[in-house]
C-alpha cells in the first residue's frame, strides 16, 4: 500500500470498498440457498441453479428453478388471496404499501449491496438511484391505493397478475410491477430474472416482516421456462413483462385470445439528440448518464448519439477526453463508474456486435486503459462513422457501446431519431425552448428527456411506442394497466361466427309483391369503399349482397380485400397532418358532422329500418344517439388534456396524450351506425387517421356516412372505410406494420386472431374477447376509456432554471 507521502505526490484515488459483510451474513442465514416464496412462506424448489457475482464470477447463492407445478401453486395462492385483498379498503392496502416503502428505506444499504453483488452494477447506482426509486415507487403507490376508488371510479382490480422482470434493474422493476398491481387490489406472482433473483427474495422477506397477507405477493424464481408457465397459466388475469422485444412478441402470441391483459416494456435504440447551441460540457455528462449508466444495459439507454454536424468533432473530442476519466472495475467500490456485465452470454453478445460494427467499417474508439480481467468487464466504447443502415445503428447492443451519427437540420434529426422500429425514449439537448418543444412531440417515443436523461419517478409513466411495447408504468397512466371497469364482468357474448359475405349477386331487391307494379325503377346506388376522401371501387371487382334480418336483399357493398386495406393505410398515412391540426379544428369538424347528420337523420333512420330491422322508433332513437355521440366527441376533442406530473425535482413533466397515428377499427356487427361512430369518432377526435371496417352484415349505414364526411370538411384520409369480410380484413390490418393500434369489436376467435397477428409490430390492440357492449348505454359505449385507447401517453421531462 502506498504511503501518505507517496499519495500526496500522485494524488490518485485509492480503493473505497463497500463491505459485503451484511449481505454475506444474510445469505449465510439462508444457507445461501433459496426456494420460492408462495403463500407467505419460503418453500423448497424441486431443482436449483446457481447465481454468480459477475464482478468475480463467484457463486453467491443457489436458487430454485420454478416448475409449472410451482407456478400453479403460486397462482392458486394468489387467487385465494385476491378475494381477501380486493375486499380491503384502499386505506388498508395503502398502509401495507407504505410499510413496504418504509422497510425498503430502512434496509436500503442491504438491498443496494445485494443488488450490486447479484447484478454487477456499481454500488453508487444501487445506493443512490435504484433503491431510492424503489422506495419512492411504493410511497407513490401507497397513495394510489388510498385514492384509487375515488380517482378510478367504477373500476376494480383484474385478479392475479403474472409479472416477469429483467436483470438490469432487478428490484426497481419489481417495484414498477408490484406496486401498482397491489395498489389497485390485485395479487401478484412475480418471476425475477434468472441472473438476478436475490433482491426479490429479500423483498419477499420484507413482505413477510410487515405482515402482508399470505398469497398477496408470491415469487417463483427460474428461467424462461418458469416465465412461460406463468404466461400460460389460465388463472392469470394479466401479464406484465419487461425484457427483450423478441420475448415480448412470443408473449403477445401466447396470450392471444386468453383474455389476459398485457403490458410490455421492451427494447430500445433511443436517440440522444444534440443541437449546436447546447451546453456541450453538460451534454457530455448526459451521454455518460445515458449509455454508461448500468454498463449500458438499460432499455432506454441513449445509445444513438445524433449530433448536429457543425459541432460533431468538438463533441467527439470532449467525449473521448471524458471517457479516459471513466473508471471500470469492482462495482462494490464507491468510486467506480462502470461495473460488471451481468453474465458471460451478455458480454459475448456485446463483443460480437462490436466486432461486426468494426467489420462494417465503423470507427471504434476505446480509452487507453484496460479493464480488469478477472470479472465480466467491458470498456466504454464510441463508434463514429456509423451509417443509419449499419448493424450498430439498428440493433440494441445492451452494453456500454455508443454509436454516433450526424445531422444537418432539425427535420433530419427527427428523421434519424425515428428511423428505428423501437420507440422507448429520447433525449434532446438544446438551450432553445422553441426547438426543444418542437422536436419532443415529433419523436416517436414514450419518454422524452429535454436536457437530461435516464430520470425516472413513480409519478411519471414509463413505456414505449412501436416495438418498444405498450402500456405505461408509473403515474395515473400506469394504474390503468391494473384496473378494469366493473361492468365489464357481466357482458353478454357477441355473435359467433362472424357474418361471411359472399361475392354473388343478390336476389332482386324488390320483393315479389312490389315487382312489376308499374312504378318507375329507382336509380341504382353503388356504395363503394371510401379511401383517401374518395369513393373507390373494391380492388377485387366483387360486390356482396346485403340483406335485412328477414333475409330481404337491400343492396350491395364492395368486397374489400388486402389491397384495399393497403390503399386505405396509405391514404391514412397521407393524412398525418390531422394529428397536428388544432384540437379546436377537429372539434369543429366533428360538430359539423353532427350538423350534417341531423340534416339527413330521416334518411339514416330509414336505412336502419330497411337494413337493420329497426322499428321506426328505435331507428330514430339510434340516430339521435349517434348525433349526440358525435357532439360528445366533438366536445372532448379539445378537452382531453394531459397532465403535469409531480416529479420530485425542478422540472415540468408533461404527460401528453398523443394519437397513435394510424388506427385500425373493426366495428361491431350490431348497431351499424351507432357502433361505427362510437368507435371511429373518439379515434378521430384525438387526431388519429382511421381505417375502419364496418359491420359486414349491415355496411350501408357506414357507407352512407361518407357523403356526410365529405360535406363536413373532414380532410381526405382521416376516415377510410373498407367493407367486406371482417375477419379477413382484420387479419390484414393486424399484420400491417404501419398501423400502430387496432381495435376489434367482433368475436372471441377473431379477438384471438387479432392479438396473435398483431405481434409483428407489437401494435397495441383493444379487443372485446367476444363480449358485446350495449351501444345505447353511455357507461359502456362512450367515455374517457375510448379516448385513453385512442391515445398513448408521452412523458416529456423539461428541467428549467437559469
Amino acid at each position: 500500500m502506498p504511503t501518505v507521502k507517496e499519495i500526496f505526490a500522485t494524488m490518485e484515488y485509492g480503493p473505497a470498498p463497500e463491505s459485503p459483510d451484511f449481505v454475506d451474513a444474510w445469505l449465510e442465514k439462508h444457507g445461501r440457498r433459496f426456494g420460492h416464496f408462495i403463500n407467505g412462506r419460503f418453500v423448497d424448489g424441486s431443482s436449483t441453479f446457481e447465481v454468480i457475482n459477475p464482478a468475480n464470477k463467484a457463486v453467491i447463492a443457489t436458487v430454485s428453478q420454478g416448475s409449472s407445478a410451482e407456478i400453479d401453486q403460486a397462482v392458486q395462492a394468489a387467487g385465494v388471496a385476491f378475494e381477501h385483498w380486493r375486499a380491503l379498503s384502499g386505506h388498508e392496502r395503502a398502509r401495507y404499501l407504505y410499510a413496504i416503502a418504509r422497510q425498503v428505506q430502512k434496509h436500503s444499504r442491504l438491498f443496494a449491496v445485494l443488488e450490486t453483488m447479484d447484478n454487477g452494477k456499481p454500488i453508487r447506482e444501487t445506493r443512490d438511484i435504484d433503491i431510492p426509486l424503489v422506495a419512492r415507487h411504493f410511497y407513490h403507490h401507497a397513495g394510489w391505493a388510498q385514492l384509487a376508488s375515488e380517482v378510478f371510479e367504477h373500476c376494480g382490480p383484474l385478479g392475479v397478475c403474472g409479472q416477469i422482470i429483467p436483470w438490469n434493474f432487478p428490484l426497481l422493476m419489481l417495484a414498477w410491477k408490484a406496486a401498482p398491481a397491489l395498489a389497485a387490489g390485485n395479487t401478484v406472482v412475480l418471476k425475477p430474472a434468472e441472473f438476478t433473483p436475490l433482491s426479490a427474495l429479500l423483498f419477499a422477506e420484507i413482505t413477510q416482516q410487515i405482515g402482508l397477507p399470505a398469497g398477496v405477493f408470491n415469487l417463483v424464481t427460474g428461467d424462461g421456462r418458469t416465465g412461460e408457465a406463468l404466461v400460460e397459466h389460465p388463472r392469470v388475469a394479466k401479464i406484465a413483462f419487461t425484457g427483450s422485444t423478441e420475448v415480448g412478441r412470443i408473449i403477445r402470441q401466447k396470450t392471444a385470445g386468453s383474455g389476459k391483459k398485457l403490458s410490455l416494456e421492451l427494447g430500445g435504440k433511443s436517440p440522444f439528440i444534440v443541437f449546436e447551441d447546447a451546453d456541450l460540457d453538460s451534454v457530455v455528462e448526459g451521454v455518460v448518464d445515458a449509455i454508461w449508466f448500468n454498463q449500458g444495459q438499460v432499455c432506454c439507454a441513449g445509445s444513438r448519439l445524433l449530433i448536429q454536424e457543425s459541432i460533431a468533432e468538438t463533441m467527439y473530442a470532449k467525449l473521448r477526453n471524458r471517457m479516459e476519466n471513466l473508471r471500470v472495475g469492482n462495482p462494490l467500490d464507491k468510486a467506480i463508474d462502470i461495473g460488471a456485465i451481468v453474465a458471460p452470454v451478455q458480454l459475448q453478445k456485446i463483443e460480437s456486435l462490436v466486432q461486426q460494427g468494426t467489420k462494417e467499417g465503423a470507427s471504434c474508439w476505446q480509452p487507453g486503459w484496460a479493464v480488469p480481467t478477472e470479472g465480466l468487464f467491458y470498456p466504454p466504447t464510441l463508434f463514429t462513422n456509423v451509417e443509419p443502415a449499419g448493424t450498430l445503428a439498428q440493433v440494441e447492443v445492451f452494453g456500454p457501446v455508443l454509436v454516433a451519427m450526424t445531422f444537418r437540420t432539425p427535420a433530419e434529426a427527427v428523421e434519424l431519431a425515428n428511423n428505428t422500429p423501437y420507440g422507448l425514449a429520447a433525449s434532446i439537448w438544446t438551450e432553445n425552448v422553441n426547438l426543444a418543444l418542437d422536436i419532443a412531440p415529433k419523436i416517436k417515443a414514450g419518454v422524452v428527456w429535454v436536457n437530461c436523461t435516464n430520470v425516472f419517478d413513480g409519478a411519471s409513466g414509463f413505456g414505449g411506442y412501436r416495438e418498444s411495447g405498450f402500456g405505461r408504468e408509473g403515474g395515473a397512466e400506469g394504474m390503468y394497466e391494473y384496473l378494469r371497469a366493473n361492468w365489464e364482468h357481466n357482458l353478454p357474448d357477441a355473435e359467433e361466427p362472424e357474418f361471411v359475405p359472399r361475392a354473388e349477386p343478390g336476389i332482386n331487391a324488390e320483393s315479389p309483391e312490389n315487382a312489376g307494379n308499374g312504378e318507375a325503377a329507382t336509380i341504382d346506388r353503388t356504395p363503394k369503399l371510401y379511401i383517401g376522401g374518395k369513393q373507390a371501387r373494391p380492388d377485387s371487382g366483387y360486390s356482396y349482397p346485403v340483406f335485412d334480418p328477414a333475409g330481404k336483399h337491400r343492396g350491395e357493398a364492395g368486397l374489400g380485400n388486402r389491397k384495399d386495406i393497403r390503399n386505405a393505410v396509405e391514404a391514412a398515412a397521407k393524412a398525418s397532418s390531422w394529428a397536428k391540426s388544432a384540437a379546436h379544428l377537429r372539434a369543429q369538424i366533428l360538430f359539423y358532422i353532427a350538423e350534417n347528420l341531423q340534416v339527413r337523420a330521416r334518411e339514416f333512420a330509414n336505412r336502419l329500418v330497411a337494413d337493420g330491422g329497426y322499428s321506426a322508433e328505435s331507428a330514430e332513437r339510434e340516430v339521435t344517439a349517434a348525433i349526440e355521440r358525435t357532439f360528445y366527441y366533438a366536445s372532448w376533442a379539445d378537452k382531453y388534456d394531459g397532465r403535469i406530473h409531480q416529479t420530485p425535482f425542478r422540472n415540468v413533466t408533461l404527460a401528453m396524450p398523443e394519437p397513435w397515428g394510424i388506427l385500425g377499427i373493426v366495428c361491431p356487427e350490431t348497431n351499424p351506425l351507432l357502433g361505427f361512430l362510437s368507435l371511429v369518432l373518439p379515434a378521430v377526435a384525438m387526431g388519429n387517421a382511421v381505417v375502419a371496417v364496418p359491420s359486414a352484415r349491415y355496411p350501408l349505414a357506414a357507407t352512407d356516412l361518407y357523403q356526410v364526411f365529405d360535406t363536413s370538411d373532414l380532410p381526405a384520409g382521416v376516415i377510410n372505410i373498407v367493407t367486406g369480410n371482417q375477419l379477413e380484413l382484420a387479419k390484414v390490418l393486424a399484420q400491417h406494420l404501419e398501423i400502430a393500434a387496432l381495435w376489434f369489436f367482433g368475436s372471441k376467435s377473431g379477438s384471438e386472431m387479432v392479438e396473435r397477428e398483431s405481434a409483428g409490430n407489437l401494435k397495441a390492440t383493444w379487443v372485446t374477447h367476444g363480449k358485446a357492449r350495449d351501444w345505447s348505454k353511455p357507461e359502456q359505449a362512450q367515455g374517457q376509456e375510448f379516448l385513453r385507447h385512442a391515445t398513448q401517453i408521452k412523458n416529456i421531462w423539461v428541467p428549467y432554471g437559469e
Binding site: 500500500m1 504511503t3 494524488m11 484515488y13 443512490d128 447546447a278 468510486a335
Partner: protein, 326 residues
C-alpha cells in the same frame, strides 16, 4: 469547429500578440444549462471518494492550497501575526510525523492592503506568499485610478498576489469590452504579482453570466479566477465552481495557458474540501490540485481538516481545542 470557437481562437491569437482587446461579442452565446450543471455536481460526490491513507494525503494537499485569510474590519498586526504563525505550521508536528510528511504550509496568507506589510514581516523566510485583496474590496465600487493605485500600493508593500474584484455592473449590463479593459488594467498594475480575479458570482445572477465573466477575465490576463469575496450572501457553490472550471478548461484547450481557480467563502469542512478537489481532478485534471492552480479562500476550513487528520492518525474523533488557533 463551430463558429463560436473560431471567433474564440481568433480572439486568443490577437491576445497573445498585444493583450489588445479581442472581439468579445461571442461571449453572449456561451451556453450553461443550470439543471444539468446541478445534476453533475450532485452526483459527483457519489461517484468519487477517497478513504484512509488517500483521504489523509488529499487533505494534506488541501492544506497546501489554503489561502489562510483574515479580512475583518478589526484586523490588527497581532491578529495577522497569529495567522501567519498558523500558516507556517498549519498541522501539529506530532500529527505530521505520524503521517510521515514534512514541510506542509498553507498556500498563502490573504489580508487587506494595509495589513500586507505585517504579513510580509511575519512570513519572512517561509516562502509563503502574501495575497492582498484590492480594488475597493469587497464592492469594487471605487474610482478606477484609486483601484489601480491600491493594487500598486499592495504590491509595493510586498504582496505577491492580488485578489481584485470586478465591477458587477459590467457583467449585469453586458459590457464585456469594459470588463476586459478593467481586468487588463489591473493586470498591468500588478506587475509581477499574480492576479486573482474575483467574479462575486453570488451577485452575477446566472451561471451564464458567471461563464461569460470567467472567459473575459481569463482573456484579459487573470492568473486565477475566484468565485467570491466571502462577503456576498451566496459564496462558493459547486454549480458555480463547475461552470468556472469548465471555462478554465475551455480557455486552456484553446490557448494552452493554465488559469487557476479559487473558491472562497462557505468552504468549512474537510468533506467540502474533498468535494472541491474531486471536482478539480475530474474536470481539469491532476495539475489543478496543486497550489499553483488551486486555492481555497477559507479561514475555518483548516481546523476541520486538522481534526480529520488526527482522527486518521489516532482512530479517535478529535476536538477543535486540541489544535493551535490562528
Amino acid at each position: 469547429m463551430d463558429s463560436l470557437d473560431t471567433t474564440f481562437t481568433e480572439s486568443l491569437l490577437q491576445e497573445r500578440d498585444s493583450w489588445a482587446r479581442p472581439e468579445l461579442d461571442w461571449v453572449k452565446a456561451i451556453a450553461v444549462n443550470k439543471s444539468a450543471v446541478e445534476r453533475r455536481v450532485s452526483t459527483l460526490a457519489g461517484r468519487r471518494t477517497v478513504k484512509k491513507e488517500w483521504q489523509a494525503a488529499w487533505l494534506l494537499k488541501a492544506i497546501t492550497c489554503i489561502d489562510l485569510t483574515t479580512l475583518s474590519g478589526d484586523d490588527t498586526e497581532g491578529k495577522v501575526h497569529r495567522l501567519c504563525a498558523k500558516a507556517k505550521s498549519p498541522v501539529r508536528a506530532d500529527l505530521l510525523e505520524a503521517l510521515g510528511v514534512t514541510g506542509i504550509t498553507v498556500g498563502a496568507v490573504c489580508v487587506y492592503p494595509t495589513m500586507v506589510a505585517h504579513a510580509v514581516r511575519a512570513l519572512n523566510g517561509s516562502n509563503i506568499p502574501v495575497a492582498s485583496v484590492a480594488t475597493g474590496f469587497p464592492s469594487g465600487l471605487m474610482p478606477m485610478t484609486q483601484r489601480l493605485e491600491e493594487i500598486r500600493y499592495a504590491v509595493d508593500q510586498g504582496a505577491a498576489e492580488i485578489d481584485m474584484v470586478i465591477t458587477r455592473e459590467l457583467v449585469l449590463t453586458g459590457r464585456w469590452d469594459e470588463l476586459f479593459d478593467e481586468v487588463a488594467a489591473c493586470k498591468d498594475a500588478c506587475g509581477r504579482a499574480h492576479l486573482k480575479v474575483i467574479l462575486a458570482t453570488g451577485e452575477l445572477a446566472t451561471l451564464r453570466n458567471v461563464a461569460r465573466a470567467s472567459m473575459v477575465a481569463q482573456l484579459a490576463g487573470a492568473d486565477f479566477i475566484k468565485t467570491s469575496t466571502g462577503k456576498e450572501t451566496e459564496n462558493a457553490t459547486l454549480p458555480v465552481t463547475l461552470t468556472m472550471v469548465r471555462c478554465i478548461r475551455r480557455y486552456y484547450e484553446s490557448s494552452g495557458r493554465k488559469v487557476g481557480f479559487k473558491p472562497a467563502g462557505g468552504i468549512r469542512s474537510a468533506k467540502d474540501a474533498l468535494a472541491w478537489q474531486v471536482l478539480m481532478k475530474e474536470e481539469l485534471g491532476r495539475d489543478w490540485l496543486e497550489p499553483e492552480l488551486f486555492r481555497f479562500g477559507a479561514s475555518g476550513l483548516l481546523t476541520d481538516i486538522e481534526r480529520q487528520l488526527e482522527h486518521f492518525v489516532t482512530g479517535r474523533y478529535s476536538a477543535n481545542y486540541r489544535h493551535p488557533a490562528a
